[in-house]
Symmetry: C2
Subunit: 352 residues, 2 copies
Amino acid sequence: MSDNTPNSKKIEALLAKKKAHAASLNVDELSSKIFAGDFKALSETITLIESTNQQKSEIGQAVVAKCLNKNTDAIRIGITGVPGVGKSTFIESFGLYLVNKGLKVAVMAIDPSSEKSHGSILGDKTRMNKLAVHPNAFIRPTASSGSLGGVARNTRETIFLCEAAGFDIILIETVGVGQSETAVHSMTDFFLLLMLAGAGDELQGIKRGIMEMADAILITKADGENVKMANMARSEYKNALHLFPANDNEWIPKVETVSSIETRGIEKAWDIVDAFNRLTISNGSKQANRNQQEVYWMNETVKENLLKEFYQTDGIEAELTKIQSELIDGKITSYRAAEKIIKYYHERKRTI
Amino acid sequence: MSDNTPNSKKIEALLAKKKAHAASLNVDELSSKIFAGDFKALSETITLIESTNQQKSEIGQAVVAKCLNKNTDAIRIGITGVPGVGKSTFIESFGLYLVNKGLKVAVMAIDPSSEKSHGSILGDKTRMNKLAVHPNAFIRPTASSGSLGGVARNTRETIFLCEAAGFDIILIETVGVGQSETAVHSMTDFFLLLMLAGAGDELQGIKRGIMEMADAILITKADGENVKMANMARSEYKNALHLFPANDNEWIPKVETVSSIETRGIEKAWDIVDAFNRLTISNGSKQANRNQQEVYWMNETVKENLLKEFYQTDGIEAELTKIQSELIDGKITSYRAAEKIIKYYHERKRTI
């Protein structure tokens, strides 16, 4: 070691030191700007955590670490509903109502499909044009980074950054692809389901199990000739929710009608969220839920990483296809199949 | 190798050969007896698969392997409901109705809690005393083998054995502990939820998400003064289910009232199951669902086994407790926490 090119070693060490220093400067600068509510620093850091460049992403991570739990008063709201229910229109109206109350509002979306469609990336800001230009609103288009796990991770870290930047309300829209509702439900305090009146067919779009996650259902487009039907839908859903099992947090899900166009029902929507927030703070379930969510995401990530290691092992895929067809043909039980594939995995790992 | 005690080696090899021969005889004998519908051989094999003795369990496994997909006409029915709803009484009435129709009925239960309480082990047969003695009925008390994964595996293998033994109807009761409803739902064709009328408070016992799994809801104890309330509950649930998203298999969940004491509604319950069975056979969803279930259990078992290896690694638990408290204190993100613990795992594995 000592005998080869001591000079170049020295230079390398110096450069590395300089780089680390620059990165730490970056981290300190970005985080203090974020604490001061600087939108540009916020955007820049989100871009860093979303980056596939490891060095950049490490800097982003370091900023996130400084931003953890800086503002636990913020309310994280998940919003879902089938395409056409009027999610963007509602978020525009609701967001404007909140910023006009003096609250700072951040909006983001979870859309693992956007890599292909690019639909909502272009759409979000243009469909919320009044909110987008308001100085107290921050709209972050969906990152187009593949898997739900990756998108969920970026979104959760963005939540921490926004809270550190002083945002009071974090709105997270989900387009309902794959498991994205479950992901959003597991990272928010309050989960809002938007539905159309006189549905029937429209209901097909809502996946099973989503209704029971909702802390409130809002019947949208309750304007003009729709009002009567919306009111009917409201009492139907109210009766239906009434039959559901109670929540651990003592909250009884609410059903209301809204018209984003006529901006009716928007205040009521806020009253519901506010009441929920007060209740869950006073009975301790808001913090308890957040702690549970942290542990949930840790365990999910452990599981995801272990499974990724497994499924990405060379040869596993071909072996799995083979075993799966034995399984479907009834030649083997699913337990034997699992044992076989895991045995194969360990043998591969030993030889690689 | 060749120089040490060639004689004892020979004897050992002979003994092993003899043992393997005996085991294979056992397997052939047990499986042909099961195909002939022998209850004793069926019970014996279930005891083998439940055994913690590896040699015995291997023999059981070999019998199961011979029994796979021997009778795909059988209908697997999951039954759930809160304690006190009258599950045993319903199964007694429903089972008797079916055996009197000439059908062969097997009854089993999933109760991961039974290791502690031993409640349902003693209870099942005595609470179904008429069904228990009928020559076309086979009631297998819950195995008291710890984890849900283990119980689920034994139950699924018992289903294969019962079907090979010619049973037409497999009833699987769940007591609703932990994730047992999900487990039962994932191993049956038809999922039945029993509910009480005039509930409100009783509903608290039904976990969230269960209602949307139901292919039918039966309001129990619809006799005497309860009839009116049961009918009201019936139309309430009917309206509520109507608001749910549709099933992929085109089935619309049904709601009916039953009285096990007055044996009213029992035939209607069968008509519902029968209609479901015909529909799902004709549109192919019965087999498709079973195939999906096989793949599901394989993947679940892979996941379970990988996680078991992880969590049972020496030192992981202590490390996890440490990291988890950093997480809750907001010192670290859940992703970093997961990365840290997995890094620790790989280091441990390298040194062990």
